[in-house]
């Protein structure tokens, strides 16, 4: 038994050593392959998120390859080298190193949460390998002067601005919004957004007159709802997971208190919140992308996604992963090279206004000298039990519906 195993191991080892050489020889003959390393958590606490993200990366690669590959590289195909980062920052760091040094990828993309993205960003910058970040929102990532780091996601601190812009629009439409109440969960996500809202809102003419925090998994929100109601606020900005959103919205409805309500991010824009019926009806959520966005590339993406993965509707972070993969391929195409630094330089001058990669709500996808894209958000509203994009105007499926319907 052992003998066979050893022989097998030797054979496999030999194949592993020789195969990449053979492969790259063959590949050069017909124009090279663009190897992109994908860092995704496929096990651990973020396993379900990682699996979702991977589907979007793979769909992008499939679409590029099926449409004839990269013209600038003689029709080269995109090859994804997928790596499971196990939802752990230290694994993300070592896998980034392995993909760069052993797998010889031209670029990296990923790596879901901020905690797993930051170490990989440092590794790729040190190794002069472009890293296209999909979904991490921590501000600092594109503020530290890293030369090889790019991001399709929004900065956390931009959310407050978009929400204020949206409230300006609603005010212009005749709604009274003068005092704002915050209702945020007491975890890191809730408190990061809380800090952002607190610093932005007063300067935009929306004084914060009530500030409630709550614990995730609270069994009762009636006291929080009473405090929000008696504060005299005309708008509530919340950060809560879907569970608590439901219970909070019910508590507000029980008190017949229905001000302008704006929930935060993918945790709120979740079908189980919309399914709570009357309490959620006509409430809003701010999010980075929505599947009903009125934009040709976005509509094509939703259609292609449903064909590739029957019955599935993509979420906001999957749209970002799709755009990230496409942007890397387009940069390599423009550079007509798989060289890491040439791809980096091409990313700096890339400007995407149409085609599959233009699915995000911002009118143009490009990367500034810090690698940050001008990503924006959309505002969705629950209308007849479904989330519908209502703002900004350019991509809205329909205008905002009145709060009392």
């Amino acid at each position: 038994m052992t003998g066979i195993n050893r022989r097998e191991a030797l054979l496999l080892g030999g194949a592993a050593v020789t195969a990449p050489g053979l492969f790259s020889l063959g590949a050069q003959a017909q124009g090279s392959t663009l190897r992109i390393g994908v860092l995704v958590p496929l096990t651990g606490v973020h396993a379900s998120d990682g699996a979702r993200m991977l589907k979007a990366h793979q769909l992008a690669a499939k679409m590029i390859n099926e449409s004839g590959g990269l013209k600038g590289l003689g029709g080269a195909k995109v090859e994804l080298v997928v790596s499971d980062i196990q939802s752990k920052p230290e694994v993300s760091r070592s896998e980034a190193e392995r993909l760069i040094s052993r797998e010889n990828v031209s670029a990296l993309t990923g790596a879901w949460a901020s905690a797993t993205t930051i170490p990989a960003a440092q590794v790729s910058d040190r190794n002069r390998t472009p890293f296209m970040i999909t979904s991490a929102v921590t501000d600092a990532i594109t503020e530290q002067g890293l030369k090889y780091v790019f991001r399709t996601a929004v900065k956390a601190k931009w959310f407050g601005k978009y929400v204020a812009d949206f409230m300006d629009t609603m005010k212009k439409n005749g709604m009274t919004i003068d005092k704002v109440a915050l209702a945020t969960e007491d975890g890191p996500a809730g408190q990061a957004v809380h800090a952002n809202y607190s610093s932005v809102m007063p300067g935009r003419g929306y004084p914060i007159i009530a500030d409630e925090t709550f614990r995730t998994g609270s069994p009762d929100f009636s006291t929080v709802a009473t405090k929000l109601r008696t504060s005299g606020a005309t708008a509530i900005l919340s950060v809560a997971y879907a569970d608590d959103s439901t219970v909070l919205l019910r508590a507000l409805a029980a008190q017949s208190f229905r001000p302008l309500y704006i929930g935060f991010g993918g945790a709120h824009v979740n079908q189980t919140v919309a399914a709570s019926g009357k309490p959620a009806e006509r409430t809003f959520g701010v999010v980075e992308w929505a599947p009903d966005l009125k934009k040709p590339a976005s509509e094509a993406f939703v259609k292609a996604f449903a064909e590739a993965y029957p019955g599935e509707v993509p979420l906001s972070n999957q749209a970002q992963a799709f755009a990230a993969t496409y942007a890397l391929a387009l940069a390599a195409d423009a550079a007509a090279s798989t060289d890491r630094t040439k791809i980096r330089d091409a990313l700096r001058t890339l400007r995407i206004t149409d085609g599959p990669a233009s699915l995000l709500p911002a009118p143009e996808l490009y990367f500034d000298e810090q690698g940050q894209s001008p990503a924006t958000c959309v505002v969705v509203q629950v209308i007849d039990g479904k989330f519908v994009t209502v703002w900004p105007d350019a991509v809205a499926a329909q205008p905002p519906a009145p709060l009392q319907g």
Partner: protein
């Protein structure tokens, strides 16, 4: 902070306390009679909540009516649990019993994850957002119904334990297992019923709680720890202690939420637990009147 808000916090705290008592009473009954610590108590609540949800979603039953179906189901689960796992576990050291119930708790969570998936399920009724106003403060209707059910159930259990032969047997076994056995009481049968009723009470709590909150495979964990705090604060195995402990925990966390931050309020029940353990380790209303031997 206004008087209205403080009043609201008091009322909400008392309502929550009553609901906590409804969940904790089965735990203390099982411990009082059998000396078994059931870490899977919250998972049986989770199953009862799914029971209430399924009855509403597939049979169109109001959660109040679903109680009639879910109670016998949970009672049967309790008896089944005793016969399959607890009866053999009672012959081994207590630490092994705890390992058994802890393992069962994880097993039930993962089975629920496989069967029902992780998404929240909601019972949506007109009543979900109805409320009772009492002066300037209010009770949400689903909470009010659950609290009322808690009070009725506690009164019912009290009468059974105090006024019937069945209750006398339970109390006898609880006081002295060997003494009760010598008087001709069938210990195994008493245990089976104690476990059945202890888990069966969750059949009342489950459907009503499902209409207050939402159901997911991990929701039991929200209540297990609190139920343990209540049982220990009140005095393990003590019936009155559960009510006192639950009201104390409910009001303390609710009022603390108004006076301080949410993070501090979440720690209040555990601070209360430590205080009680230091000052009155037998609990506030221990079984047998609190005389320390």
């Amino acid at each position: 902070m206004s008087a209205t808000i403080l009043l609201q916090a008091l009322l909400s705290g008392m309502t929550n306390g009553a609901i906590y008592a409804l969940i904790a009473v089965g735990l203390t009954l099982v411990f009082g009679v059998m000396r078994v610590v059931n870490f899977a108590h919250g998972e049986f609540l989770m199953l009862a909540m799914y029971g209430g949800y399924l009855a509403w979603a597939h049979l169109g039953l109001d959660p109040i009516i679903a109680v009639v179906l879910v109670v016998p189901a949970l009672l049967a689960l309790g008896v089944g649990l005793f016969e399959t796992l607890i009866r053999p576990a009672m012959r081994v050291p207590e630490i092994n019993q705890m390992a058994v119930t802890l393992g069962l708790s994880l097993l039930l969570q993962y089975l629920a994850l496989m069967v029902f998936k992780a998404d929240n399920l909601l019972i949506v009724q007109d009543r979900s957002t109805a409320s009772l106003w009492i002066g300037p403060v209010l009770l949400q209707m689903p909470q009010a119904i659950a609290a009322l059910a808690a009070v009725l159930l506690l009164i019912g259990l009290y009468i059974v334990l105090r006024k019937t032969d069945f209750g006398l047997i339970m109390r006898a076994v609880s006081q002295s297992r060997d003494g009760a056995a010598l008087s001709g009481i069938d210990i195994g049968r008493t245990y089976r019923w104690a476990m059945g009723i202890g888990i069966g009470t969750l059949g009342v709590a489950g459907p009503l709680m499902a209409s207050v909150l939402y159901v997911n495979p991990h929701i039991g964990a929200l209540f297990t720890l609190k139920a343990f705090v209540i049982v220990i604060v009140g005095g393990m195995g003590s019936f009155g202690g559960v009510l006192l402990g639950a009201l104390l925990v409910g009001v303390a966390e609710s009022v603390a939420g108004v006076l301080t931050t949410a993070s501090v309020a979440a720690a209040v029940p555990f601070a209360l637990l430590i205080l009680v353990m230091l000052l009155r380790p037998e609990g506030l209303m221990p079984v047998g009147g609190g005389s320390r031997a």
